[in-house]
């Protein structure tokens, strides 16, 4: 990628940025704002040119809201994922492949690192240096096609399993909460079970579906699964795990969840959008404590960002590049994010997403048996309830976020979300008369086709 095609952070921003907080990592190390600035302006543009694309259609561009420190720090943490995960593994932390929409408290309590499929993809991406955007997309597609063959049909979050089977990503365990909302994870688990690479242990954390949080046997059953999980991870990490370890971890993760909830409520209360869609998504995702492969780092950025958002909302400051009164879209469904840049160009903004918000907005009780408390919280995830239950929760989020319309997106081949989409949208229309649109995404890569963008743009025009 030619230099002129790359985005460059304005050098006049340096002094302002270097006065912001350090990032504190779980192993006690830290990155100063000066370290981060150097990496993002000198190292990463050469190491990961794809991230600096200026292509108009690329959905994964860097946020241009440069005065919000988290916009740069979040991307720093994503682009250093490979280096950091490798370092943690060398220091004895096993890496566990989990699934989307689940919390990660027990994995970290036992000394492991939990990575969802998207994060495994980011880790894998970081192992290939010097790739431009198109080269990176070709690399990623190739891996996914191999995975589709291995799993025997097209699923969405498949590439992680292929990396594990091929052994090119040193994942130590596959241990997702299975039977959660994603049918593809179950197919992937089966493909892994039958794959030639038996070296990576498979452990299913069995999730009893549908209205189970109020059944004591189900909570106890899932708590037992969590105990098996922490025990196995701790064994691999060469340490013991106590109830106190999990209690401490839950407190830490609850702080992230509370900060994400507070940040979202501040955002929703604002007269003008305090961030763009991309930064809003990154901020709430940090509350899940998984997105950077280091909960302490996520928490540092989230604490600092929360203060920035509070200040912006108080002073009525609008994010750079966002219009005053955009159409407010709420995105439902898993594993597809619309191109937020194009949405904003069309006069709208994304005010919320149900995916992940479900687990992030579910706090865990801190007094009493931590395994029972965690199990109860996990079995209460609104996204994983019956469609009626999930729809009722979604309606609440739509009211809080003052959404004008709902975009329900899911991947081709996603059996779960495709079955839920229509019923959920019908409920939303019936309950609060908000227009909805369902789009099945057949595409991969960083750019969305005109087919997809056309539908989204027409929906925005309809709402306008």
């Amino acid at each position: 990628m030619a230099k002129r095609e790359q985005y460059e952070y304005p050098s006049e921003l340096r002094e302002e940025f270097e006065a912001t907080d350090d990032i504190h990592f779980r192993d006690g190390s830290r990155a100063t704002a000066a370290d981060i600035w150097h990496f993002m302006t000198e190292v990463a543009p050469k190491k990961y040119p794809f991230a600096y694309t200026q292509k108009k259609y690329a959905g994964g561009r860097l946020s241009r809201d440069i005065h919000l420190p988290s916009a740069i720090k979040h991307n720093y943490l994503l682009l250093t994922m490979n280096d950091r995960i490798n370092k943690s593994r060398e220091n004895g932390a096993p890496v566990i492949f989990v699934q989307g929409g689940q919390s990660v408290d027990p994995y970290y309590a036992a000394g492991g690192i939990a990575l969802r499929p998207a994060s495994v993809g980011i880790w894998a991406r970081g192992r290939h240096e010097g790739l431009g955007l198109n080269e990176e997309v070709v690399r990623s597609h190739k891996q996914k096609e191999k995975a589709n063959h291995a799993i025997s049909f097209e699923v969405c979050q498949s590439a992680g399993y292929e990396h594990i089977q091929e052994g090119d990503l040193p994942v130590d365990m596959v241990a997702p909460y299975t039977c959660l909302r994603c049918s593809d994870i179950s197919y992937g688990v089966e493909a892994h079970r039958h794959g030639p690479n038996k070296a990576v242990k498979l452990m299913n954390i069995d999730y009893p579906m549908r209205h189970q949080a109020d059944k004591p046997w189900a909570v106890t059953y899932f708590a037992q699964n969590l105990r098996r999980l922490t025990s196995e991870i701790a064994k691999r990490a060469g340490r013991e795990v106590t109830d106190e370890d999990l209690s401490k971890e839950i407190k830490l993760h609850n702080e992230g969840r509370r900060l994400a909830i507070d940040t979202a409520e501040l955002w929703w209360s604002a007269d003008v959008p305090p961030t763009n869609s991309v930064d809003r998504r990154a901020l709430y995702q940090m509350g899940g404590m998984e997105v950077h492969g280091d909960p302490s780092a996520s928490l540092t950025v989230l604490r600092e960002s929360n203060a920035y958002i509070r200040d912006r909302v108080k002073r009525g400051i609008k994010a750079d590049g966002v219009i005053d009164k955009p159409i407010r879209l709420f995105v439902c469904g898993s594993c597809v994010s619309p191109n937020a840049f194009r949405i904003e160009e069309a006069g709208a903004i994304i005010v919320g997403q149900d995916n992940h918000w479900s687990d992030i907005s579910t706090l865990v009780k801190e007094e009493g048996d931590p395994y029972q408390n965690l199990a109860h919280a996990i079995l209460s995830y609104p996204y994983e309830q019956s469609v009626e239950g999930r729809a009722a929760w979604t309606v609440e989020q739509l009211k809080k976020s003052r959404a004008d319309g709902v975009l329900f997106l899911y991947k081709w081949g996603c059996n779960t979300q495709s079955a839920i989409a229509r019923m959920l949208c019908d409920t939303v229309k019936r309950e609060i008369a908000i227009p909805t649109m369902i789009i099945e995404d057949h595409e991969g890569g960083s750019e969305q086709s005109e087919q997809m963008l056309n539908r989204v743009n027409a929906f925005i025009e309809m709402l306008g």
Binding site: P435, E440, E450, Q451, N454, R455, N457, A458, E461, M462
Partner: protein, 269 residues
């Protein structure tokens, strides 16, 4: 003192054709329709220039231009870009204010659009990445029978029976059609089956959007009388007759919007 004449243009660059409509104040003044080429900027300009030539105008005579269709993202000559869903709604409303439902079948997609009395979109649905029911699909079928695209409708209406088609996928329907021809089925009966299979598929789009009279049929495929007949049967509706080429409705709507946007922007009063 002579009053300044105001001209507004809509340019709709689709996958198969580029269309342009120029309004003088509220009336259709000139139109242009050319096949789309590889270069969508050039295609749009060709259509626009054809309309300008027909009307004896120059581009600088235009007060405002709205681009639409898939080529709207590459329309440097346009003041604004709007999706063709919104434009078809405005175009149909301009011709028939009583229209509440639009079936738009273009070169590469088809749409079910419900509108209100002002021509604003209330709801819409589109085919999902499948060419069934599009102009491209019918082009392929015309190729199988070695007839012109324009002949498909009349041929289909001359059918004595309906040969059922099991596939609406363009590629599979082509091979199924070849098999049916090889079995000795008559082309007009196969085409009748094809039109009805497509009409049934399109009617699925209306299951969610709903149908309210009057119903309008726009897009290039609307010129196909066999498809119009099959849709009327499948949806149990009567389609209103368009006063102009139905392929121009998107461009017409874009021109209507050009008039409205330019007024809001104070370019004329």
């Amino acid at each position: 003192m002579s009053l300044k004449r105001n001209f507004f243009a809509g340019v709709d660059v689709g996958s198969l054709a580029a269309k342009s409509v120029i309004l003088e104040d509220g009336e259709i003044f000139a139109t242009g329709l050319v096949p789309s080429g590889v270069d969508s900027v050039e295609s749009g300009l060709k259509a626009l220039n054809l309309a300008l030539e027909t009307g004896g105008l120059k581009q600088e005579d235009l007060t405002y231009i709205v681009g639409t269709g898939y080529g709207r993202v590459s329309a440097p000559y346009a003041n604004k870009a709007v999706t063709e869903i919104t434009c078809h709604a405005k175009g149909a409303n301009y011709l028939h204010p009583s229209v509440r439902t639009i079936i738009d079948m273009g070169g590469q997609d088809c749409k079910a659009i419900r509108i209100d009395q002002d021509g604003a979109v209330v709801d819409f649905a589109m085919n999902d990445k499948c060419a069934a029911g599009t102009g491209r699909f019918l082009e392929v079928m015309a190729g199988v029978f070695k007839v012109q695209l324009e002949e498909l409708g009349a041929l289909s209406l001359s059918a004595t029976e309906l040969v059922p088609m099991s596939s609406t996928c363009t590629v599979f329907a082509e091979s199924e059609t070849i098999s049916l021809v090889a079995r000795g089925e008559k082309p007009e009966n196969i085409l009748n089956g094809i039109h009805h299979a497509i009409a049934n598929r399109i009617s699925g789009l209306f299951a969610r959007v709903g149908i309210t009279s009057d119903v309008f049929f726009s897009g290039g495929v609307a010129k196909n009388s066999g498809m119009k007949h099959a849709i009327e049967q499948a949806l149990k509706v009567s389609i209103v007759k368009p006063e102009i080429d139905p392929q121009l409705i998107g461009a017409l709507g874009a021109a209507v919007l050009a008039r409205s946007f330019s007024k809001k922007e104070g370019l004329w009063s």
